[in-house]
């Protein structure tokens, strides 16, 4: 049962994290800063998931990354691109629709 839960949770998190990253990166940020920001929001993200995800989004042109080397140590900052914003708008519309369906269905099943 625990395995089943973990497996479904991982799948749910995968899509959620992509959307969350596209939302958060409206303001540029680097990986570890995002980890901390998510933690403050109550969302624990696996570090070894976030960095590869940022890389894939960058390859697909949805976010762009640039190295800042002037500070204490080099950091790679990411920001959402216009293509990322367009995709985010569509994904948020799907998110709202799915949320509405789930709430409505749960409510109806409780009343039944």
């Amino acid at each position: 049962m625990d395995n089943e839960f973990a497996s479904i949770e991982t799948e749910m998190k995968r899509g959620f994290l992509q959307l969350l990253v596209l939302v958060v990166l409206e303001k540029e940020a680097y990986g570890y800063a995002m980890v901390r920001a998510f933690r403050e929001l109550g969302y624990e993200v696996e570090e070894n998931t976030l960095y590869p995800l940022l890389r894939r989004l960058e390859k697909r042109g949805l976010v762009e990354g640039k190295w800042e080397v002037g500070e204490e140590r080099p950091r790679k900052f990411y920001a959402v691109t216009q293509a990322g914003r367009d995709l985010r708008r569509e994904l948020l519309a799907i998110w709202d629709r799915q949320d509405e369906i789930i709430r409505k269905t749960v409510k109806e099943s409780k009343n039944a």
Binding site: E46, N48, Y51, R73
Partner: protein, 319 residues
Amino acid sequence: MHKKLDDYLEEISHYLTDADEREEILSELRSHVLERAEQDGGDDEAVGRAIASLGRPRQVAEKYLDDRPIIAPALRRYLFRYTSLLFAIHMVFIGLAVAIGRSYIVFPFLFVPRLGIIDAVMYLPMALLADFGLVALILYFVTRSRRDVRLPWPKLALDLDRANPRTVGSMVANLLGGGIMLAIAWLLFQFTRTHGAIFLLRIRPGDFQPLLRPDPGHLLSWIVITLLLAGALEHFIKAFARSPLVRCTITAAGDGFTLLLIAAALSVLGPDMFTADVPARLHIWLYKSLVWILLVTALIVAVDLVANLVRLGRRRLSR
């Protein structure tokens, strides 16, 4: 500076396939570990904890790699299907190479050397691995092409009842087929008793000359008659047997017996088996044609034998 971190990143780099990306990925991970460790005390133990929170090197590297499979999931069943079919064909040729004591080059990739029985047993695992490897290689290229390739597979009726239905039509067909085979076998038997063989040249009405020398001619005649008698017996049993299991077993036994007789026939054939009445320039051509006809027949019978064995195996499994 941080040996532990250097060793960790070095191990990750072993698993990363893209050299262009490697340095950038490692730099980002290094920056992450150092910053996290700094906020956790900044000592070596903090670096160790930061590394532990990222995970094992292979696990980290795998998340960066495309999870494109070597063989697409939809094609995996073909790996076993094609390998089993190819191996069945391979086995038939190995059996023939043992039976007739000759080497074979059948397809560009299939070479079966002359083998003894022990050699053949030792050769089988290698044949299986070679077949598996060849099929895997083809499916790898199909996967890489990313095209929707529809791979062919014969529609074998693998269910016993579907494969061997007992209807009035099939009963009549079996009786008729068995009767015709029995009649031909009887005629050929009479012919062999009179002329010593069934392979004859008709020079003038009533004047027959043997096509083959006495020994191979006589033996091949008896092989043909035996094949016809076995076929007739198989048809008669199938006409009256009610159980699909019996009909399937009889067909498989018939296939096995036919393969044995084909192997026996191949062992008799040779370019020097013709009599002087056959022009010498035709000897090689006739011999090669006969060999190929028998090999193709053996292949068809072998495929039917495999299909019947699969049907019988499925029945055992379902029980």
